[in-house]
């Protein structure tokens, strides 16, 4: 798979910023984007927090990551395209190499494909406009809907939340903005593809989704990156506001190249009787830290987190979920699964917090980990904090291997050992993988098959 993603696409860059993070650079970025004053101030304030704050005191080792080495902002000479025909040839080539099917490129009119830091392709389907749904790249949203964006931008995750939230606030670029008006059910999933295509390039896309009262949305985010030798950093942010009675599903697959530091922040604020569902698959990157968060603010709010993490050779995946029950009668469910193989390290880190105000809460957290061999590592650290006496909380975790008897059983029915292992691993992932969009489900399964059948010739 990584072979397929390796390529030497040549792109002409209009602006190539010098390495180094300072006030001047941030002002330059803001100026180039022609941003309102409040956004420039938010960037500067974030930079301030970033410079002051220390690295996280847990998680992956980021001592080799020098943020200054990463050229934080690059702008391809492609203008924003209204239709597929206007997308530059070399960028199309990159899509080709990423294996995005032709039909999909054209049919999915709701796709925003991110090339470097700039959204190059953004087409809003007529149908969406008719429904009053706003689906824009983030930069355009700042200009076209300043009041709406200002009200929500970095409110769920304030710039001083942690060091990489601050970094993101200072240099964010690209991303999607979605607003679904009251009682509107978006009939198809909205998709955004992100990709990195320049050596030493950071990706700091910001996704802001507002689902108004009683509305419904499924948003799909996928990442693919070609393979590079220079350290790559991805520090994106997703903020979701799910208003009263609304329903939101956010599916994501991250498949960054094996040299990427993926330090991502995702958070949803969930109001009364609203539902938030996170489906996350992490297969790529060198090191990942990602803990999608649901803050259950309104009475009866509900969150569901489904994670699948695959840690292969040289990968350290520190993933998990965070749920904060603020209001009464809220409920949550976590199903986290991981596979570690070939010396990979899968680390589940979770936080479940039930505040004193959140009575009659129900929550279950389940973690399961499959270790394929002895070179790999699997850790589970779920933290549970319960601050009242009317909460029913359950947590379970187990770590295990593929049982010999299962393999024996399958082999006795004429299946090779490799196929048998792949079958069992696929079965283990299935409940979560089936929640993913079809193309990612296929990709996941293909990955597993490759792993086990090639290992054993």
């Amino acid at each position: 798979m990584s072979e397929k993603l390796s390529f030497d696409g040549k792109v002409n860059y209009v602006v190539k910023s010098k390495p180094g993070l300072d006030k001047k650079l941030i002002e330059e970025i803001s100026f180039n984007k022609d941003e309102p004053v409040w956004m420039r101030e938010l960037r500067l304030k974030s930079l301030d927090f970033f410079l002051k704050r220390s690295n996280p005191v847990f998680g992956v080792d980021i001592s080799k990551l020098d943020v200054n080495e990463i050229i934080p902002y690059l702008k391809p000479d492609a203008e924003k395209s209204g239709s597929w025909e206007e997308v530059p040839e070399n960028i199309k080539e990159t899509f080709e190499k990423l294996g995005i099917p032709d039909a999909e490129r054209k049919v999915l009119a709701g796709v925003g494909a991110q090339y470097d830091s700039e959204v190059v392709y953004q087409h809003i389907k007529d149908q969406l406009s008719r429904l009053g749904v706003i689906f824009l790249d983030m930069e355009s949203a700042v200009k076209e809907y300043p009041e709406l964006v200002k009200k929500y931008f970095m409110r769920a995750v304030p710039p001083n939340d942690h060091k990489f939230a601050a970094l993101h606030g200072a240099i964010w670029s690209g991303g999607s903005f979605v607003y679904v008006p009251k009682d509107v059910e978006v009939p198809m999933p909205l998709q955004a593809y992100f990709m990195m295509a320049s050596p030493g390039m950071g990706q700091f896309e910001h996704t802001l989704i507002i689902v108004d009262k009683g509305a419904k949305l499924h948003f799909i985010e996928g990442c693919s990156a070609p393979k590079y030798s220079v350290i790559n950093l991805h520090s994106g942010m997703v903020e979701i506001y799910v208003d009263e009675g609304a329903s939101m599903k956010y599916s994501t697959v991250q498949n960054w190249s094996k040299n990427t530091y993926n330090l991502n922040t995702k958070r949803a604020l969930v109001e009364k009787d609203a539902t938030m569902v996170w489906v996350s698959g992490s297969i790529g990157s060198a090191k990942t830290m990602l803990y999608p968060t649901s803050v259950l603010k309104g009475k009866g709010a509900r969150a569901e987190h489904m994670n699948i993490t695959y840690a292969g050779n040289d990968q350290h995946m520190d993933t998990g979920s965070k749920i904060i029950h603020v209001a009464p009668y809220t409920s949550s469910k976590v199903d986290a699964r991981s596979i570690s193989s070939d010396g990979g390290w899968a680390f589940y880190r979770g936080l479940l917090k039930v505040l004193p105000t959140a009575h009659h809460v129900k929550s279950t957290v389940e973690c399961s980990a499959l270790m394929v061999d002895d070179a790999s590592a699997s850790d589970t650290v779920p933290i549970i904090e319960v601050m009242n006496n009317e909460a029913d909380i359950g947590h379970e975790a187990r770590i295990g291997k593929i049982k010999e008897s299962q393999i024996y059983y399958l082999m006795s029915r004429g299946i090779s050992e490799g196929d048998a292992k792949a079958l069992i691993v696929r079965g283990f992932m299935e409940p979560i993988v089936k929640q993913l969009p079809l193309e990612y489900a296929i990709e996941f399964n293909r990955l597993v098959n490759m792993k086990f059948t090639s290992d054993l010739g």
């Binding site: 847990f58 933290i383 319960v386 909380i393």
Partner: protein
């Protein structure tokens, strides 16, 4: 690959023990290296236990005789020439926090050294009313094939209780250990225990915690050789503004080792309980079997229960699992009991006793058994 581990921040205070405090405790020369290290080490800033300051309490030699039993024992102060004692004392062990295990070694005013061959029982009963500051440093060696029962009780209203107990359980030996902390108005109790299990050694620990305003309890099982087996059952009941941080560690270093931790308890009023379980299965530990479970019954809307169960697994031929849950005494359960003529208080008592009785019943010393029952009923 390495990961970034959280390091507990520390603080220093000018009001700390110094060499001077050890002078009237005897054997200053033996203590000296530990005192030096102690003075270089800061106190942990414990977030959950809310420990951010420390005031020295006067240290005096222990008054009274806390030890009895069928086995031969020496007091710690009389064990300085023993090689096993010194080897074990110099072993790296942080316990709840290095500052407190060093405090035990540097400033202990009581403690025992028990070596058991054959079969034997030993009882240590500390009275904090008479000795408000009790700093203990102890070692238990259960010799090859021996069978030992140890009961340790800390009781009364004191100012500070710090204890470190090391256990060496040799090949095929068996240990049953009852550790009972019940000193409700003692501001700080820090208890650290290390168990080193050799081939086929078998350890069963009962950790009973009934107060101390702030209690840190730490038990670490190092399953160092083939077939070692350990089980820990803890029972706790916290009320008032009590806080307790229980930390249980299973370190599987060898094949076919077995570890199990079960923690059950009740919290009431504004109390706060932290249950931490760490299972660490090293690469060499083929066919290891580890299990942790915790259940906390929360009786008051202002009480708080945290669970931090961690699993760290480096060998894939293992069975490792953990579970944690909290529950409330909901209206249905109460209604059911009350409809059968029980008052609310009696219903609560029944539930609490249901949790504790299985452990109380097997405490081998009658007056300790009575003490625990009395303390429990006064808490209800």
């Amino acid at each position: 690959m390495t990961s970034v581990e959280y390091v507990t921040p520390t603080f220093y205070t000018p009001f700390d023990y110094t060499l001077k405090d050890a002078l009237n405790l005897g054997n200053v020369e033996w203590r000296r290296p530990f005192i030096e290290k102690y003075m270089d080490t800061g106190f942990p800033k414990w977030k959950r236990l809310n420990l951010s300051e420390f005031f020295v309490k006067p240290l005096k030699p222990y008054k009274g005789e806390p030890f009895s039993g069928s086995v031969l024992y020496k007091k710690s102060v009389k064990s300085f020439n023993d090689d096993t004692f010194n080897d074990m004392m110099n072993r790296d062990f942080n316990g709840s926090h290095l500052k407190f295990t060093l405090m035990s070694k540097a400033f202990f005013n009581t403690g025992f050294f028990v070596e058991i061959s054959g079969e034997g029982e030993f009882l240590a009963k500390y009275d904090l009313n008479e000795n408000p500051t009790t700093v203990e440093n102890s070692l238990v060696v259960v010799k090859k094939g021996a069978k030992a029962t140890i009961v340790r009780e800390v009781k009364g209203n004191g100012k500070l209780n710090v204890g470190t107990t090391l256990f060496l359980i040799e090949k095929g030996a068996k240990l049953e250990f009852f550790n009972i902390l019940m000193a409700p108005s003692t501001p700080l109790m820090v208890d650290s225990n290390l168990y080193i299990l050799k081939e086929n050694a078998d350890v069963e620990v009962y950790d009973i915690i009934l107060g101390g305003e702030k209690v840190a309890s730490h038990h670490r099982f190092e399953l160092t050789e083939h077939g070692a087996k350990s089980r820990l059952t803890s029972a706790y009941f916290e009320n008032g503004k009590e806080r307790a941080d229980l930390q249980y560690e299973l370190i599987h270093e060898a094949p076919k080792t077995y570890g199990k931790i079960i923690g059950n308890g009740v919290i009431n009023d504004e109390s706060y309980m932290v249950f931490r379980g760490l299972t660490n299965i090293k690469r060499e530990a083929f066919d290891a079997n580890a299990e942790e479970s915790g259940y906390t019954l929360v009786l008051s809307p202002n009480a708080r229960a945290d669970a931090i169960p961690s699993l760290r697994v480096r060998n894939h031929s293992v069975s490792a699992k953990h579970s944690a849950s909290t529950g409330s005494l909901d209206d249905d359960k109460l209604y059911y009991m009350m409809s059968r003529g029980l008052s609310k208080r009696m219903a609560m008592q029944l539930i609490v006793e249901g949790m504790f009785n299985p452990i109380i019943d097997i405490i081998p010393v009658d007056d300790v058994k009575r003490d625990v029952k009395d303390e429990l009923s006064s808490k209800i």
